[in-house]
């Protein structure tokens, strides 16, 4: 696969980084609670599987649920704003403003309003997820080629036909760019939402670890989050490959 072939440079940098990290930890005898070495983290990651695997599955479940809801909301909002231009003018600036409220500030409010159940958590993930999708999808809809639009209109297409046969497929690659960003955000959103108060999850595991100075476990949590994000990203990419088949292989440009 091309990705693996192209991925050797960043992989090399990562390996070098780990080596420097490992060597410095040993050389300067840095205590484990301050900064564990990669090998110590690896050992904890391997040995502690039974400690954290239920946290992991819980976070994965929450992420998928939140992402699905967030993505649906994002796409629905984009379609709505696109089809009703007046609504777009009124709402779009507000949506951008909403992104300036830090989630960390909003989170306690959500707990006050909705308690400790799943609802405030899903709301947090939705809030981080929907924005990139909405913006990307709106952009995609607006960039629809005017040539194709003229053709569709002159052929007598209705508004609905123009949307489904032209604007929607035209925006699909953009929507996928939004989905890719959101997929990685959703993992972060899930962990943050778990800090609000949850029984289990990577967020909980992390909080427990840091309060008991198990720094190695904090790092295990960090790596789990990174791996999860990557996996979700890769899932969306492979979905895109399956659905967007009309692009030339190799680069994304059309040959004319």
């Amino acid at each position: 696969m091309k990705i693996w072939y192209k991925g050797w440079r960043p992989a090399l940098v990562l390996i070098l980084l780990f080596i420097v990290w490992e060597v410095s930890c040993r050389l300067f005898e840095i205590p484990k609670w301050l900064l564990p070495s990669p090998s110590q983290i690896w050992l904890e990651g391997a040995a502690g599987w039974s400690n954290y695997h239920h946290h992991l599955t819980s976070t994965i479940g929450l992420t998928i649920l939140g992402f699905l809801i967030g993505a649906s909301v994002g796409i629905a909002v984009a379609v709505g704003l696109h089809l009703i231009p007046k609504l777009r003018e009124a709402i779009y600036p507000i949506i951008i403003l909403s992104q300036n409220i830090p989630i960390i500030v909003l989170a306690p409010l959500l707990v006050i309003w909705f308690g400790f159940g799943i609802l405030p958590k899903v709301i947090v993930i939705t809030l981080v997820c929907f924005f990139p999708i909405t913006v990307a999808a709106l952009d995609g809809f607006r960039q629809t080629s005017s040539e194709l639009m003229h053709y569709m209109k002159m052929a007598g297409a209705t508004k609905k036909q123009i949307f489904w046969k032209l604007e929607w497929p035209y925006a699909l690659p953009s929507i996928f760019s939004g989905l890719k960003i959101s997929a990685t955000y959703s993992v972060m959103g899930a962990v943050i939402s778990e800090w609000l108060g949850a029984k289990e999850g990577i967020g909980v595991y992390m909080t427990l670890a840091s309060s008991s100075f198990r720094t190695d476990r904090v790092f295990v949590a960090i790596f789990l989050i990174m791996i999860l994000s990557l996996v979700f990203f890769a899932l969306i990419v492979s979905m895109e490959r399956m659905i967007v088949k009309w692009k030339p292989k190799g680069d994304g440009k059309r040959r004319d």
Binding site: E147, H150, M154, A155, G156, W246, R254
Partner: protein, 245 residues
């Protein structure tokens, strides 16, 4: 019987008056070409017939019915092939009919075969050459149910060889199913070779400057392209255009 009747239409974009009381007609089963300098409003004329916008003054009638600002009444091939990149050749060809709810897949496959595109039914537009894309756009027009076909400089992007080949192919298809065709071009030879009548437009603000009835018999033979008579016709029209440009 008159297929398309355009009476005294004018169209301005802001200060820019493009069409000025332009009138023309196309008869049933007639092949008419429009020659005009670039920027004279040929594409605008098609967009008016296609109902993308309405003329400021005047009337457009198709089969006697007023169609000012009404979309869906003509089968149109734009200047660029305008194929949907996510649809296969077959999917693109069916689009025109699909929009009005008439899908004839068997006929589409037959036309693909006749156009020399067999084996490409499931190819995406990016896999096709310029000439092939243009052919797909043609078949899409031909399979659209509307009775007037408007072609906007369909051959201008093609090389000389492909162009002649495509012209012959278009003629052969048209001989079988004689629908009215209105073709925009800036190639005098092409207009003469293909059409029954050639309309020369003036500069902006555009009116019809001159009309020529082409005397060559049908079906057209490629050999006429080299005849004395063809050359003298070419000169006649060239002189008309030179006055403008």
């Amino acid at each position: 019987m008159t297929k398309l009747l355009i009476e005294n239409i004018s169209k301005s974009f802001g200060e820019n008056q493009v069409l000025d009381q332009l009138s023309l007609r196309v008869e049933e089963a007639e092949f008419v070409s429009i020659l005009g300098p670039s920027g004279s409003g040929k594409s605008t004329l098609f967009q008016l017939i296609g109902g993308l916008f309405a003329p400021d003054f005047g009337e457009i009638r198709l089969d006697g019915k007023r169609i000012n600002g009404e979309t869906g009444s003509i089968s149109y091939t734009p200047q660029s092939p305008s194929l949907l990149p996510w649809r296969t050749v077959l999917g693109n060809i069916l689009l025109g009919g699909e929009i009005v709810g008439e899908i004839d897949q068997a006929l589409a496959l037959k036309m693909i075969d006749k156009a020399g595109l067999k084996g490409y039914e499931n190819a995406y537009p990016y896999e096709l050459s310029g000439g092939m894309k243009q052919r797909v756009a043609f078949i899409r027009s031909l399979l659209s149910p509307q009775s007037l076909i408007c072609l906007d400089e369909p051959f201008s992007a093609l090389d000389e060889f492909t162009r002649l080949e495509m012209q012959n192919w278009l003629l052969s298809v048209w001989e079988e199913d004689k629908r009215a065709i209105l073709l925009v071009t800036h190639n005098i030879e092409e207009a003469l070779y293909l059409s029954d009548r050639v309309i020369v437009l003036s500069e902006k603000p555009t009116q019809v400057k001159k009309e020529f009835i082409v005397p060559f018999p049908r079906p057209r033979q490629a050999s006429i392209l080299l005849s004395e008579e063809f050359l003298s016709w070419k000169k006649k029209i060239y002189n008309e255009l030179r006055v403008i440009m």
